[in-house]
Every structure is written in C-alpha cells, then in structure tokens.
C-alpha cells in the first residue's frame, strides 16, 4: 500500500496548502460582520473558480486513487515467487504516441476556445475524438496480439493485472470521449464560443492530460521501468 500512502500524502499536501489560506486558526466568535480577507472564498479581488473545475479536480483525485490502488495491488503481488512479467506489445508504444497526440489536440482545442475561433475549435475537438478512438482501438489490438501470443486473462497474475488495469484505463478514456462528444455537439448548436463551451473544452483537456499521465505511469509499471526507478531511489537513499 506504499504507493497509495504516497498518493495520500500528495493529496494531504494539496489540502494543507489550500487550507492554509482558509483561516482555520481564526477565532470565529470574535469576528462578527461580513467576513473579508483571503479566507472568504467569494472575495471580490479573487476570481471564483467555477464549481465544475473544482468538481473535476476532486473527481480526478478519486480516479487517481483508483489507479493508485490498482498499482498498489500490483506492487504487492509483484514480489511473489510465481510472478513472471507479461511482455509489453510494441503496439503499446504506438498507442502511447497516439494518446499523446490526442492530448495535444485537446490542448489545441483549449487554445482555440480561448481565442474564440469556432471552426478551428471544432476541427481540434474532432481530431481529439478521433485520436482517442484510435488509442482505444489500438489497445484492443494490443490485447488481441497478447491473446494470439498465448497470454490469456486467467493465465498468470501479471497478465491478469495487465488486462484489468488497461481495461479500466480504456473505460475512462471512453467516458471522457462521451463528455468530449457532448462538448463537440455544443459547437454545432451554438453560433459563437460561449463561456459554457469554453469551460467544457477546458475540462475535457484537463481530463485528457490527466489520463495521459496515468497511462504513462501504467506503461512504466508494465514495462518494468517503475521497478528500476524504485531500485534507483533506494540506492540514492542508502
């Protein structure tokens, strides 16, 4: 569970940093009247973060916890004797590149949304959607390659973990695609880039970058780099 504890430390650090500005040490019974200062979340000189962004942040923390727990389980299992790693299909590296491209498209879409250029925004979003679809398809092909090579779901632990964790990641990408498709429909129905549309695009872009980061961690885990990294860190400490 060390990976999960590390993740919780990060969350705790963020919570601590945030709460430092919330006046948790103040004596509220002495302060009558309209509250002011940095601890009022609605202070005029600080633009209020839209609830959707905060909501996405909290949601990503939940998703992060989910994948970290899978990784924790993987790391606890990896030390047992009957473990032999599943080979990483080459195709996975191609998929990684596609997902990276998808993330770039979303970033482009975000830039276009800020500039308010509707046509380019639409192209960028469609490109993001297509590349994400290509990634998921590529993942399915990678599974088929593995199956063809004789690595079945129930064969050994490493393979089981590979299928379950990549499947879970793929499901999250699919979920993101639903959200992105809904935002893309907004482009069609609305004549200009409304704040609502811009927000949707920004949220999708954040989600995409996050899922890319999750994927890179997972890839490092499956390719065994994570193990070497941990070993390297141990060397640094000792």
């Amino acid at each position: 569970m060390s990976a999960m504890l590390l993740f919780l430390c990060v969350i705790a650090a963020i919570a601590l940093w945030w709460s430092a500005g919330q006046g948790l040490l103040s004596k509220p019974w002495l302060e009558v009247g309209i509250a002011s200062g940095p601890r009022d979340a609605h202070d005029a000189d600080r633009p209020k973060l839209p609830a959707q962004k905060v909501g996405l942040g909290v949601f990503l923390a939940v998703v992060g916890a989910l994948f970290t727990l899978f990784i924790s389980a993987y790391l606890m299992r990896v030390n047992t004797q009957d473990w032999w790693a599943t080979p990483v299909p080459r195709l996975l590296y191609v998929n990684t590149a596609i997902l990276f491209a998808s993330s770039l498209c979303l970033h482009w879409a975000k830039v276009e949304a800020v500039r308010g250029r509707r046509e380019q925004l639409r192209t960028a979003m469609l490109a993001g959607l297509m590349t994400a679809l290509a990634f998921v398809t590529g993942q399915v092909f990678a599974w088929r390659q593995l199956v063809a090579a004789g690595y079945l779901l129930a064969d050994d632990a490493a393979t089981s973990f590979f299928y379950v964790i990549t499947g879970m990641h793929g499901l999250h990408i699919l979920g993101g695609m639903v959200a992105l498709a809904r935002a893309a429909r907004l482009v069609r129905t609305e004549a200009i880039v409304t704040p609502r549309l811009r927000l949707s695009v920004e949220l999708c872009a954040t989600y995409w970058h996050f899922m890319l980061a999750v994927w890179l961690v997972l890839l490092a885990l499956f390719a065994g780099w994570a193990g070497s990294f941990v070993a390297f860190c141990r060397q640094l400490i000792t």
Binding site: P28, A51, V62, D82
Partner: protein, 590 residues
C-alpha cells in the same frame, strides 16, 4: 430578509451570483426524478430506512437462533451466514453511509451553507437512482438461486467465491459485488456534490470556520469516502474477475473438497489490505457526520456555544486523516507481517486522543449550559454514553496484544455495534427528531418519542454491554451455535436469551418510531420556522418546509459563526447566523 439593527455593515446579498436552478415541469420531475437536493435527501432516507428494516429483521432471526438454537427450523448454518452477511453489509453501507451522506448530506449541506441547491443537481439525481439500483441488485440476491452470499460482510477470499460458502459459486457473491460497484459509482456522483458544494457553494460570509460542525463532519466524511471507496471498488472488481474469469488475484493454490482448483499464487491478504483500507475509514465515514450532528444538537438544546469549536474542527480533520493509516488494526491476527503491529497499534491509539477531546468538549458544552431535555438532547446524551463505552473498548482491540485473545470473539461484535451501530443510530434518531419540523413543518409526537427513546437507549445498552462479556468468556463470533465446549459456562446461554429478548424489544420500538414518522406528518403539532430557536441557516428559510431554491429571492448573508447562543447582552438567547450587529459585552465575554 436581513433584520436591520442599526449596524453599518449590512451587505446587499446580490454580491453572490445565483446558481442556475433546474425547475421541475411536471409531477414526475418534481417528486420522482427530482434534481432538488431536499427531495433526493428524502428519497435516500426512505430507501435507506426501508432496506435497514430488512437488516433489522435479519438481526432478530439471528438473535433467535443464538438464544434458541434450532427453534427456527429453516434457519440452518447456511441461512445464518447469509443473514449475518446481509445484515452487516446493509447496515454499514446501504443504511448508515447512505443515510448520513445521501440523506443528511443532501438535506443539510445546501441549507446550512446558504446555497440554493447542490452544485451538480443532475449528477445528484443520478446518484440516488444508482443507489436505488444497487439496493435492488442487493435485494435480488435474496431471490437468486443459492441465495445471497454468506461470506461475512468482509467478503474474505478465498471462501467468498468457493462452493462451501453460501452463494459462493452461485449468484450471491456476484450480485453482492456488482451491487457494491454500482453503489460506489453512485456515491462518487453524490460525493462530488457534497464536497464541491461545501467548497464552492457557500453563501457570502460563510467562511469555513463559520460552518456548523454538522457540515464539517459530513464534508470530511465525504472526502474520506471519495478516497476510500476506490479501494473497495478495486477489491470488488478483482474479486469479480477471480470468480467469473478464473483469474488469481486473491486465490492461492487451493484444494477444495479433495480437488485441486485452477487458481494459484494469489494473495488473500492483499484483499484484506484493500478491504480494510476502505473499511477503516468507513467507520469514520459513519462516525464523523454523527460527531458533527451531535455537536449541533448539544449546542442548540443546551443553549450554549459548542465548547472549543476550533478544536472540534481540527479534531474532525485530524481523525479523518489519521483514519487512513490505521487500517491494519483489523488484521493483527491475519498473518500479515507481525512488525506492522507496532506501527498500527500506535497510530490507532493516537486517534484516541482527538476523539477523546471531542467527547470532553461535548460534556464541557453541557457545563454551565441551560439544558433543555428535549428528545434530540436525550438522544445526544445517550450517544455520549454509548460512544464513550464503544470507543473505550476500541482501546482494547486497537492495542495489538490485547486484541489477540479478543479478536474474532463476540467482544468485537459488541464493540463495533456499540461504537458504529448504536451510537451513530442514536444520533440519526436525535437528528430526525431535530430536523423533522424543518422537513415537514410539524413536530414529531413527544409521547411516542419518549417511549421510543427509553426503549431504544436502555435496550441497546443492555444488548451490547453484556455481549462484551460473552466474548471475554471466549465465544467466537459468526457461530450459529456455540455447541459443546469446556470453557463456556451454561449461564452464558441465559445471557444470550436475555440479549435476544432485548433485541426483539428494541426492534419493536423502531416500528413505533416509523409509525410516529407517518402519524406526525398529519397530526403533529405545527412547528413554525424555527421551533428550537437555533442559529444555523437552515432554520432561517423564508418557508417551512423550504421551497425549491431554498431562499426565496435573495441568498442569505452570514455575519457570525454558527454558535451564538446566550451571547451576553443580546436580547434573545440565540442570534441567527444571518443577523448582523454586535453586542457591547461580547468582547468581554470572549
């Protein structure tokens, strides 16, 4: 809306932007597929109480079996294990978690922080319907072939998915896991709402340190649940694969009934770590809302500010954070690395300090108060007694070596029922007696309430206090009958009969409570907007029950903390949070 009292700091409320409200157009969208948090709260509560009654009846049947083994002929070992499993799972997750967060969270958070509704009403509605689906799947397992799972609520593999456990190779365990997965997805949608509404939906002036402790408790519990439920999710998904696809995440090489199974290499301990990584925070997910609510009940009905508000807030947050590093105290005798025992015993006992401080502060709030012995106050007092009792026995079980003889005995059963069964449920009752007038506009009947209180409190104490001693004698938990042993004296059997009779009586009293809920809807005394003369925002709504959008035209503005009771110099013994103005003597008083 704001009473002018001559103070110069009245702020026009328009400074807060209004949320976009969903307006229902038909009866269906108003009462069934409603996106109004108050309606969703009532839906959550009714469903939770309904499924909780099923769990209550299961507990009667189990108690009858323990007191009179074999009296109910249909209740064989298989049924008994199915019943304990369903009783535990329903009570912990589908009743307590759903009621505290889905029920009280939905009703109270928007009202208490001065919001019109939750920030994501659509997701909030989906949350309830997914919860209902999860309950339906759970109930379906009663009717599936092979019946529900009988693996114990901890669902430990390998037995959970093997054929000698009821439901292990039938549909029982699959439906259980699917139901949990649905519940977690649904909860995440609701939980995002509760957390983000507290973070972003507070009205002007409502700083974090002005929030009532109820909101603090529910908020912290929600954040914990959002981070802890994924562990259960992961465990459920992996176990589902073990059961349906033949993987070996949790399944080592096993010989079942002389036959080698096709599993190998998996680790049952891994499941236990995942389960308790969720399971321990879950205890506090139930306890923290109760802590928060009971603080408000005591303060309001003792007409005194909560003593040490800041300490109460910090304690809630510290308990929430610490509860993530104590999970393995459920696993002292599980065969995990024994050196973990030092760490987890220490963290577990450290948690006792902030928890004890909360208890002291509740009692110190009573000190020099002006205590109205209303029903909510009675339940709050009963909570203190049962929680202190259950919490102190936790010091036995958390202290690793003392846990060794007591673990897996009835002592554990008595402990967790007292601390996370009886104590939070007493708070739920107190809270319902307290907020029922706001929800319905009428008071609950006092006479029935008194009867309900005394039977429930004394009965529950008489059930679970002696049960500790059954465990001390050495009776293991999860035995459908103890049978012949050399170490259990015959008198334990008499004690078992006494406990069972008490359980039946306490259970019957809950029917009286449900009757009171229904009866008072029509015949209860008219309550008015603020019958308890309380300070918090939910009592200051323009209508009672609050209308859609909660606040009429303008949102309230908050000028003070939530506990201005008996302020020296003030004309009344309470000052609502949305009332401006200071009193000259307050500085001296503070």
């Amino acid at each position: 809306m704001v009473e002018a009292s001559g103070a110069g700091d009245i702020i026009p409320p328009a400074a807060v932007e209004d949320v976009e409200l969903y307006h229902p157009h038909s009866w269906w969208t108003r009462y069934v597929f409603s996106q109004d948090a108050k309606v969703i709260a009532i839906q959550y509560s009714c469903t939770a109480i309904a499924i909780g009654m099923v769990a209550l009846v299961l507990s009667w049947l189990m108690r009858i079996q323990l007191a009179f083994p074999g009296a109910l002929t249909f209740l064989d070992a298989e049924r008994y294990y199915q019943f304990i499993t369903m009783h535990g799972m329903i009570m912990v997750i589908y009743l307590l978690t759903a009621l505290f967060l889905g029920g009280f969270g939905n009703y109270l958070i928007p009202l208490m922080v001065g919001a019109r509704d939750m920030v994501f009403p659509y997701a909030n509605m989906l949350s309830y319907w997914l919860y209902l689906l999860a309950v339906a799947v759970l109930v379906a397992s009663f009717f599936a072939s092979g019946g529900p799972t009988g693996a114990g609520w901890t669902l430990y593999p390998p037995q959970a998915i093997l054929s000698n456990t009821p439901g292990g190779q039938d549909w029982g365990i699959v439906l259980m896991l699917v139901s949990l997965i649905i519940f977690i997805i649904g909860f995440t949608m609701g939980g995002l709402n509760y957390a983000v509404t507290v973070l972003q939906g507070r009205t002007r002036g409502m700083t974090l340190m002005r929030m009532p402790l109820t909101v603090w408790g529910i908020f912290t519990a929600t954040v914990m649940a959002l981070l802890a439920f994924p562990a259960l999710f992961v465990a459920c998904v992996m176990m589902l694969f073990d059961r349906l696809a033949g993987t070996s995440f949790f399944m080592p090489a096993i010989v079942e009934m002389g036959e080698q199974l096709q599993h190998g290499g998996g680790s049952p301990i891994l499941f236990q770590h995942l389960f308790w990584f969720f399971g321990h925070p879950e205890v506090y997910i139930v306890a923290l809302p109760a802590f928060g609510i009971v603080s408000d009940l005591i303060s309001t009905h003792a007409r005194k500010n909560i003593f040490g508000y800041r300490m109460m807030v910090w304690a809630i947050v510290i308990i929430g954070a610490l509860s993530f590093v104590v999970w393995a105290h459920h696993m002292y005798v599980s065969g995990m690395n024994p050196y973990f025992g030092f760490f987890f015993a220490t963290t577990t006992l450290i948690i006792a300090v902030p928890t004890a401080l909360k208890v002291y502060n509740w009692t110190l709030t009573l000190w020099r108060g002006n205590i109205h012995l209303t029903l909510p106050m009675l339940f709050a007092l009963a909570f203190i007694v049962t929680f202190v009792n259950g919490g102190l026995t936790g010091l036995f079980l958390g202290n690793v070596v003392v846990d060794v003889p007591l673990s897996d005995t009835m002592f554990v059963v008595a402990h967790f029922h007292m601390v996370m069964g009886v104590a939070p449920i007493l708070v739920i009752f107190g809270a319902i007696y307290h907020w029922y007038p706001k929800i319905t506009g009428r008071m609950l009947n006092e006479g029935m309430g008194q009867l309900h209180f005394w039977i429930t409190f004394l009965g529950a104490y008489l059930i679970f206090f002696p049960m500790h001693y059954v465990g001390l004698v050495g009776v293991p938990r999860r035995y459908n009958e103890i049978g012949e042993t050399s170490f259990v004296p015959a008198s334990v059997h008499d004690l078992n009969i006494f406990i069972t009779i008490m359980a039946l009586v306490v259970g019957a009293a809950q029917i009286l409570f449900l009757f009171n809920l229904a009866w008072s809807l029509r015949h209860g005394r008219e309550a008015g907007g603020n019958p308890w003369r309380a300070t918090t925002l939910e009592w200051q709504t323009p209508q009672t029950p609050p209308a859609h959008g909660n606040w009429g035209k303008d949102l309230p503005v908050v000028y003070r903390w939530a506990y201005d009771y008996s302020v020296p110099g003030a004309p009344e013994d309470f000052i609502p949070q949305n009332q401006p103005g200071t009193y000259p003597t307050r500085e001296a008083g503070a």
